[in-house]
Amino acid sequence: MGPLDRGAVRGSYLRRDVQDGLLAKVDKTARINRLIFEVRYDPHQIARLQTDTEAVMEEYGLSEAERACVRARDFKGLIELGAHPYLISQLSRLLYGTANNRNTSVAAEMLRRSVVASG
């Protein structure tokens, strides 16, 4: 069966959203998304993520592939594993600092190297 045309889709009760591109990769069940979501609420956990990353990853039950990407600061790899790109921009700030998030900040630069430079 070929792709449905837009008119045919409009006749469906299913909600239609993008089928490819960055957001189509997001995996609701990927544990990394829960980790980033919750850590931001707690200054103690934000500090621990920097000083004891392994323990926090263990608490959230990250997969071995997710853990390897976090260790390597492979943000692109995390997106490929289902991390939401918006949360990935926050992970970079959790790891490298959040103030003065200009394009030349460390947090922005590390994202650029991983996500932008490698396309």
Binding site: R15, R16, D17, V18, G21, L22, L23, A24, V26, K28, T29, N33, R34, F37, R40, Y41, P43, I46, F75, I79, H84, P85, Y86, L87, I88, S89, Q90, R93, T98, A99, N100, N101, R102, N103, A108, L111, R112, V115, V116, G119
Partner: protein, 278 residues
């Protein structure tokens, strides 16, 4: 019966407060002028209540539980969420809520068929902090904040967002007290791609095309052209924040938007647009 006295839309990029000086001076001046123009219109409208609609940036809701719409019933809102304070460079603030209007929107919105979740409180990041700082720095007009899902598929489609705007108008006109004067401010967009390969790019061509479409005053044209797919191509996960603008368009219907300003600010990683329909 209350009145909808103003409908506006603007970007809420964190760079506008967080790393403002990184933009070149001429651009900074033009952006500030457009927000000043909007603030002037808002003050002229003399609202007794503000309804602000903007996306939740996965702050209140995790990827596995993002409601289409959510409303804070709080009597007082506090912002910004602590972790965002340094990022936004916005000091802690308090702004009064409007529980009766918030509850009316939840009750009547639900009856109208909108998936809308009441919340005891909502955490604010750039979504509400930036427009409040620029547009209502006195923080005195009672505020009903509405978040929406523009970030996690399957999102409410533009056609639904347009209808929600019409419902909001009807709720304000039919279910609020006669002296209530409500201004609706939608924020988000324009093109940007947080965390993606186009993080450091702005799609000026898309932004200008979108603003020109709004200025045509034809909802049919906008809904035919400005699809989710089109938004994603101009910046995945960020550009779709203009779904909030589609809600605002739904509240005014067939009326051209006046573009108060546009700047593609690469230093802030966002296309900055400001429009008024009234």
């Amino acid at each position: 019966m209350g009145e909808l006295v103003g409908v506006y839309a603007a970007s809420h990029a964190p760079g506008l407060t967080g790393w403002f000086d990184d933009a070149e001076e001429a651009q900074r001046e033009r952006v500030l002028a457009s927000y000043r123009a909007l603030r002037g219109r808002l003050e002229q409208a003399r609202p007794t209540a503000l309804v602000m609609i903007a996306n939740d940036h996965l702050l209140n809701f995790p990827v596995d539980d993002v409601p289409d719409f959510a409303v804070s019933l709080a009597a007082v809102h506090e912002g910004p969420e602590p972790w965002f304070e340094a990022w936004l460079n916005v000091p802690p603030y308090r702004v009064p809520g409007h529980p009766p209007l918030a509850r009316t929107i939840v009750r009547e919105g639900t009856r109208a068929g909108i998936q809308i979740r009441p919340m005891d409180r909502l955490r604010f990041d750039d979504n509400f902090s930036v427009p409040l700082t620029l547009l209502t720095p006195a923080m005195q007009v009672p505020l009903v904040p509405i978040t929406m899902n523009t970030i996690m598929p399957p999102r409410p489609e533009p056609e639904l967002c347009y209808e929600v705007g019409g419902v909001l108008r009807r709720i304000i006109e039919e279910h609020t007290p006669a002296e209530e004067r409500v201004a609706l401010i939608a924020t988000g967009g324009l093109s940007h791609e947080p965390g993606g390969p186009k993080y450091f790019a702005v799609d000026e061509q898309w932004d200008r095309w979108f603003l020109e479409l709004l200025a045509e005053g034809s909802p049919e044209l906008v809904l035919r052209e400005v699809t989710l797919e089109s938004m994603e191509r101009a910046g995945a996960g960020g550009t779709s924040e203009v779904l909030a603008w589609i809600v605002a368009m739904g509240a005014v219907g067939r009326r051209p938007a006046q573009v108060l300003g546009y700047e593609p600010v690469v230093a802030w990683r966002c296309g900055m647009g400001v429009v008024a329909w009234t």
